[in-house]
C-alpha cells in the first residue's frame, strides 16, 4: 500500500534524521508551542526499582532537555497485578492531550495479546512515543561441555535453566529453546534475574540469560574467568520486520535466527513457533520498554518525541551514561518503529493459538 506522506511526516522525518537543517527549525517552532511549560504524566505500572522504572527515570531528563518546549516529566509508579492495574488506570485516565504516557514492558503486552482476565486496556489503539531495547544474552556453564552454539544439542550434562515464569520475560527464551529443539530442564519461580544469576554462580543452574547491561557488567567478568560461555542473543528486527539481525550492542554473538540456521543446515526458520518467537522477542527485547500514548494524542506531540529521539541519541552524555544503564541501546523513535510494534501486537491468529497451546500444555499456564 503506497501512501503519499503528509507534509508533517516529511518535516518530522527530516528533523528526526537531523539532516535537514532548514526544515528542522520549522518543526521545532511548531512542537515548542505544544509542550512549552507543560508537565507530562508518566505511569510506570511497576514498583520503583525495576527495569521499566530505572530506564524511564534515566530517559526522562534527556527527554526534558531535548523535547522542544522542555516539558517536565512527572513519573508515578502504579505497581500491582503484574502491571495490569497501572495499565488499566492509564486506559481510564489517559486523555488524548499528549500529556500522559504509559512506560511499560512486555508484562503489559502479553496479557493483552493473550486476552487475559482483568485487562481493560487496548494497546493496539495506542500511539508509540519511544522504545528502548533490553536485549538478552544466553550463556552456559563450562561444566555443560558447551564451547559454542554447535554443541548446544549435545551437552555433557543436562541443561538446567532458571526463570521467573513462563509468561514473564522468560517467554521468548523458552520459545527459542523450543525453536532450536534444545533439551532444557526449566526451573521457574525465581524472584528475579538477580537471584537466578546467583543460582548459576552457585552451580544450581547451568544455562541462563541476562539482559545486556547486566551481561556486560556482571557476566563478562565470569566469561573472562572461564566460568561462563556466552552463546547467543535474541537478535533484532531487520527493515522488513523479520527478526534476522544481530543485537545492535552485542554484535559479536550470533542471534537466535543464526543459531537455528547453524543447527539446521542453513534452513530458514518458519512456522508458528518462529512467528511466536519473533512476536515475543520484539515485545520483550527490542521494544523492551515502550512509551505508549492514548489514541487521540495530537501528531505534534509525537513529532516532538521524534525530534528528541534523534538529538538524544547524539547527546554524548546520553551515550556515556546509557552504556551503563541500558547497555548502550539507542532511544528508538516511535514513528520509525510503530509499524513493527503494531505488527507484533496484532500477530496472526495461528501464532496466538500456538502460543496459547505452548503455554497451557507445556507450562500448565491457565489462561
Amino acid at each position: 500500500m503506497k501512501q503519499q506522506p503528509s507534509r508533517r511526516d516529511v518535516l518530522a522525518y527530516g528533523a528526526a534524521a537531523s539532516v535537514a537543517a532548514t526544515l528542522g527549525p520549522a518543526c521545532y517552532a511548531q512542537a515548542a508551542d505544544f509542550f512549552a511549560g507543560k508537565t507530562i504524566d508518566v505511569i510506570v505500572p511497576f514498583a520503583a526499582g525495576g527495569a521499566a522504572d530505572v530506564t524511564t527515570r534515566f530517559v526522562a531528563p534527556f527527554l526534558t532537555k531535548h523535547i522542544p518546549g522542555n516539558p517536565n516529566f512527572n513519573i508515578t509508579n502504579l505497581g500491582g497485578g503484574g502491571s495490569i492495574l497501572g495499565a488499566n488506570q492509564f486506559e481510564k485516565q489517559g486523555k488524548g492531550d499528549g500529556l500522559t504516557i504509559l512506560s511499560t514492558t512486555s508484562s503489559s503486552a502479553f496479557p493483552y495479546i493473550l486476552k487475559q482476565k482483568g485487562v481493560e486496556y487496548d494497546l493496539s489503539s495506542k500511539r508509540v512515543a519511544y522504545a528502548i531495547a533490553i536485549g538478552p544474552v544466553v550463556y552456559a556453564s563450562p561444566a555443560t561441555g558447551i564451547q559454542s552454539v554447535a554443541d548446544l544439542k549435545k551437552p555433557k550434562t543436562g541443561l538446567v535453566y532458571g526463570g521467573i515464569g513462563a509468561t514473564a520475560s522468560d517467554l521468548p527464551v523458552l520459545l527459542a529453546f523450543e525453536l532450536l529443539g534444545l533439551d532444557v530442564k526449566t526451573v521457574l519461580g525465581f524472584q528475579g534475574r538477580g537471584p537466578i544469576r546467583l543460582a548459576f554462580e552457585r552451580g544450581e543452574t547451568n544455562f541462563d540469560f541476562q539482559f545486556t547491561s547486566v551481561y556486560l557488567t556482571q557476566v563478562k567478568p565470569q566469561v573472562e574467568a572461564k566460568k561462563a560461555v556466552p552463546l547467543f542473543t535474541g537478535g533484532s528486527s531487520a527493515a522488513n520486520g523479520k527478526f534476522t539481525e544481530r543485537d545492535p550492542v552485542v554484535k559479536e554473538l550470533p542471534s537466535t535466527y543464526e543459531v537455528f540456521k547453524t543447527l539446521n543446515d542453513n534452513k530458514e526458520p518458519s512456522g508458528a513457533v518462529w512467528g511466536a518467537y519473533e512476536m515475543a522477542s520484539a515485545l520483550t527485547f527490542e521494544y523492551g520498554v515502550t512509551g505508549w500514548m492514548p489514541a487521540g494524542t495530537p501528531q505534534a506531540a509525537l513529532d516532538a518525541f521524534s525530534v528528541a529521539a534523534a538529538k538524544i541519541n547524539a547527546d554524548p552524555d546520553f551515550i556515556a551514561k546509557g552504556e551503563k544503564v541500558t547497555g548502550g541501546y539507542k532511544l528508538q523513535d516511535g514513528k520509525a518503529i510503530k509499524k513493527n510494534v503494531k505488527a507484533a501486537l496484532t500477530s496472526n491468529p495461528e501464532v496466538v493459538q500456538y502460543l496459547t497451546k505452548f503455554l497451557t500444555e507445556k507450562y500448565n499456564v491457565k489462561l
Binding site: 514498583a47 520503583a48 526499582g49 525495576g50 522504572d53 530505572v54 527515570r57 534515566f58 531528563p61 512527572n74 513519573i75 508515578t76 509508579n77 502504579l78 505497581g79 500491582g80 497485578g81 503484574g82 495490569i84 492495574l85 488499566n88 488506570q89 482476565k117 482483568g118 538446567v160 515464569g165 513462563a166 509468561t167 526451573v187 521457574l188 519461580g189 525465581f190 524472584q191 528475579g192 538477580g194 537471584p195 544469576r197 546467583l198 543460582a199 554462580e201 552457585r202 544450581e204 543452574t205 547491561s213 547486566v214 557488567t217 556482571q218 567478568p221 556515556a320 551514561k321 551503563k324 544503564v325 503455554l359 507450562y363 500448565n364 499456564v365 491457565k366
Partner: protein, 641 residues
C-alpha cells in the same frame, strides 16, 4: 583499605555533602513517621532529587534517609500505637503498651539506642563483609533460604500468649492469606475471584496498617479521652538505656538476626524484625509481660530493622542483587550514576564503599539523637483529646494505604483488615503471628518449590539445612517442655487451692462475642480455602493446604473452648467503637462518588464533632487537616481519586 576509609570520610565532610546527608535524614525522619511509605517510600521520593546531584552527595542524601526511617517510625509506634511500616509492628505492640503505662521515655530511650546499635552493627558488618560476604551469599541457596524462613516461623509460633491454639490459628490465617494471588511456583491464580486487584495478593503495608493502626485508633476513639491518662514521662529515658544495657544479649541477637536477613537477598526489614521479636520473646524466661509492654521484644526488633536496612546493601553492592525493596531503588540510583555493583565494584571503588559505610553509621547515630530531640514535642500530642490526633492520623493512614496499589479498593482492604485487627484485639487473639505468617508465605513457598525442582529431596541433606533443622527441633522441644511445665504448675496451683477449675455450666446462655465471630469467620475462610485449593494444581495447592488444614483444626479447638465456656464478653457490643467503624466505612464508600478530599473533609468534621469537644471548631480544624492531606498528596505525588 584504611586509607580509603579516611579519604571517604574527608569526602563526606564536604559541607554540601554533609548538608545533603542531613537533608536526607530530615526527610527520612518525617517519612518514617508517616504510614505506608517506609524505606522504599523515602528512597523513591528522594530519588529524583538525588539523581540531580553528584554521586557522593546523592548517595549521602539517600543513605541519610534510609538510615533514619526505621528509627523515626519508632516515634509513631510508641506514642500513637501506629506502626507506620510493617517492621515497626513489634514496637507498636510493646512500646505503645509501655507508653500507656506511663513509660514512654523509657520505651523511646531504649528503642532509639537499640536502633542506633543495630545501625552501627550493620555498618560494621558492611565494612567487614567486603572480603567475606561473597562466599556467604553464594552459600545460601533456595534450600537454605527455605530453612531460614522456617526457623522464623518456628520462633513466630513462640509469640503466642496464653493460648497456643489462638497463636497457631493466627499464624495459619496470616500464612493462608499470604497465598492469595499468583502462585510463585506455578502459573496459577489463587483466591483472586477474577479481581485483578488480588493478582499479587494483599499489600503488606495495608495488612499492617489495618491490623494495628486502624484497630488501635478505633478502640481509642471509642473509649474517648487522651492516649495517656497521665503526662507521658519522657524523663525515664535513662531507664531505657539501662534496659538496653541489661538486655545487651537481646539487642545483639536482634541485630545479628537483622544482619543475616539483610545479607540474604530479597528479604526486607519486615521479616527480620518479626523474627527477631519472636526470637527474643520466645526465648525469654518470663513471658508474662509479652505483648503487654515487654521492652525485650521491642529492643530486638529495633536492633534488627536498622541492621537489616544497612546490610541489605551487602548483596546489592557485591552482586547487584537487591537485599530488600529499598535496596532495589538504591541499586537503580547506582546504575544511573554509572556504577555497576558487583564483585569488582568493591575493589575498584573502595572510597565509594566507605562513603556508604560512613553515611550509614553517621545516619544511625545522629538519627537516633534527632529523633530523641523531637520526641518531647511529639509526646505532647498524647495528652490532648485523642480525636484531635486521630483526625490527621487517619488522614495519613488513608493516604499511606493508597500508596499500595493506588485504587479505591486499597481503602476497602484497609477497612477490612482494620475490622479483623479490631476483632482480634477485642477477642485477645495475638496479631503478631498473623503478620509473621503473612510475611513468610512467599519465601517459604518459593524456596520450597525451587529447592524441590533443583534437587528433589536431596536438599534435606545439605549441611546448612541440617544445622537449621537442629535449630528448629531444639526450639520446638524447649517450647513444648516449657509449656508443659507451665501447665503442670497451673494444675498444681489449682489443686492446692482445692477448687474445680471450671464448674459445669448449668444454663447454656448463648453469648455472642468477638471471639466467636472471628472463629466462625476463620472457619469459613479455612473451609472455603481448602475446598478451592483441592481444585488447584499440586504445586500451587500445597502451601495453602499446609496453612489451612492446621488452621481449621485450631479454629475448631478455639470455637469449642468458646462454646463450652459461654462467657459473655464484658462491655460487648462496644457501640461507640462500632459507630467509629461505620463512620469510617461511610467515608470510604463516599470516595468513589465525591472524590477523596471532600469525603475526607466531611468525615473528619463528623469524627471531630462526635469524638472531641471542639464543637464548631471542628469545621476549621477538619478543613486544615484535609488541606494538609491534600498538600501531602501533592508533595508525594499521590494521584488521589
Amino acid at each position: 583499605m584504611w586509607e580509603a576509609a579516611g579519604a571517604a570520610l574527608i569526602q563526606l565532610f564536604d559541607p554540601f555533602r554533609i548538608l545533603m546527608l542531613f537533608t536526607g535524614m530530615l526527610a527520612g525522619g518525617i517519612i518514617g513517621m508517616l504510614p505506608g511509605l517506609g524505606g522504599i517510600g523515602a528512597l523513591s521520593i528522594l530519588l529524583p532529587f538525588a539523581l540531580k546531584l553528584d554521586p557522593f552527595s546523592g548517595l549521602a542524601l539517600l543513605l541519610g534517609a534510609t538510615g533514619i526511617v526505621y528509627t523515626s517510625d519508632t516515634i509513631s509506634a510508641i506514642l500513637f500505637g501506629t506502626p507506620t511500616s510493617a517492621s515497626s509492628g513489634p514496637t507498636a505492640i510493646e512500646g505503645f503498651a509501655m507508653a500507656r503505662r506511663g513509660e514512654a521515655g523509657r520505651a523511646l530511650g531504649g528503642a532509639f539506642l537499640a536502633s542506633m546499635i543495630g545501625g552501627l552493627i550493620g555498618a560494621v558488618v558492611l565494612t567487614l563483609s567486603i572480603p567475606i560476604a561473597g562466599p556467604l551469599v553464594l552459600a545460601l541457596g533456595s534450600a537454605e533460604l527455605l530453612m531460614l524462613a522456617l526457623v522464623g516461623l518456628a520462633y513466630a509460633s513462640g509469640l503466642v500468649g496464653g493460648s497456643p491454639a489462638k497463636g497457631l490459628l493466627s499464624a495459619a490465617l496470616g500464612l493462608f492469606l499470604g497465598t492469595v494471588g499468583v502462585a510463585p511456583s506455578a502459573p496459577e491464580l489463587r483466591y483472586t475471584f477474577g479481581f485483578p486487584y488480588l493478582l499479587d495478593g494483599f499489600a503488606l503495608t495495608i495488612v499492617a496498617l489495618g491490623l494495628f493502626g486502624v484497630a488501635e485508633i478505633i478502640v481509642m476513639l471509642g473509649q474517648g479521652g487522651a492516649i495517656a491518662q497521665e503526662r507521658f514521662k519522657l524523663s525515664g529515658w535513662m531507664d531505657g538505656v539501662r534496659d538496653v544495657v541489661r538486655n545487651w544479649r537481646v539487642v545483639s541477637m536482634g541485630s545479628i538476626i537483622g544482619v543475616i536477613f539483610g545479607i540474604i537477598p530479597a528479604v526486607g526489614a519486615t521479616a527480620s524484625t518479626w523474627i527477631a521479636y519472636g526470637q527474643a520473646t520466645s526465648t525469654a524466661k518470663d513471658k508474662s509481660m509479652v505483648g503487654k509492654g515487654d521492652p525485650r521484644g521491642m529492643l530486638a526488633a529495633e536492633g534488627a530493622n536498622n541492621a537489616t536496612i544497612t546490610t541489605d546493601l551487602v548483596p546489592t553492592l557485591l552482586f547487584a542483587v537487591p537485599g530488600g525493596p529499598a535496596a532495589a531503588v538504591f541499586l537503580g540510583a547506582l546504575f544511573v550514576y554509572g556504577y555497576f555493583p558487583g564483585p569488582r565494584f568493591v575493589a575498584q571503588n573502595l572510597d565509594l564503599m566507605f562513603l556508604i559505610v560512613w553515611s550509614s553509621a553517621l545516619a544511625a547515630i545522629i538519627g537516633a539523637a534527632m529523633c530523641f530531640a523531637a520526641s518531647p514535642w511529639i509526646a505532647r500530642l498524647t495528652r490532648i483529646d485523642f480525636g484531635l490526633v486521630a483526625a490527621p492520623l487517619i488522614a495519613v493512614i488513608l493516604l499511606g494505604s493508597f500508596e499500595a496499589k493506588k485504587t479505591v479498593i486499597d481503602f476497602v482492604t484497609l477497612l477490612g483488615f482494620g475490622v479483623i485487627g479490631w476483632l482480634m484485639k477485642r477477642a485477645q487473639w495475638p496479631r503478631a503471628p498473623f503478620l509473621v505468617g503473612f510475611v513468610l508465605t512467599d519465601p517459604i513457598e518459593r524456596n520450597f518449590w525451587l529447592a524441590y525442582q533443583l534437587h528433589g529431596w536431596s536438599w534435606l541433606k545439605f549441611p546448612i539445612v541440617l544445622g537449621l533443622i537442629v535449630v528448629v527441633a531444639i526450639h520446638i522441644f524447649v517450647t513444648a517442655r516449657r509449656a508443659l511445665h507451665a501447665r503442670k504448675a497451673r494444675e498444681a496451683a489449682a489443686a492446692a487451692a482445692g477448687s474445680a477449675p471450671t464448674a459445669a455450666v448449668a444454663i447454656p446462655n448463648f453469648a455472642f462475642n468477638p471471639g466467636i465471630a472471628l472463629s466462625l469467620a476463620a472457619l469459613a475462610v479455612f473451609g472455603g480455602g481448602i475446598w478451592l485449593a483441592l481444585g488447584y494444581a499440586p504445586d500451587s495447592r500445597l502451601v495453602p493446604l499446609l496453612a489451612a488444614i492446621p488452621g481449621l483444626g485450631a479454629t475448631l479447638l478455639v470455637l469449642f473452648h468458646y462454646l463450652r465456656a459461654q462467657r459473655p464478653e464484658p462491655g460487648w457490643p462496644p457501640l461507640a467503637e462500632i459507630r467509629q467503624i461505620i463512620l469510617l466505612a461511610a467515608c470510604i464508600a463516599a470516595i468513589p462518588f465525591t472524590g477523596f478530599i471532600p469525603a475526607l473533609g466531611i468525615y473528619l468534621v463528623v469524627l471531630l464533632w462526635i469524638s472531641t469537644r471542639l464543637r464548631f471548631w471542628s469545621l476549621p480544624y477538619a478543613t486544615a487537616v484535609t488541606a494538609a492531606a491534600w498538600g501531602l498528596s501533592r508533595a508525594f505525588n499521590i494521584p488521589l481519586p
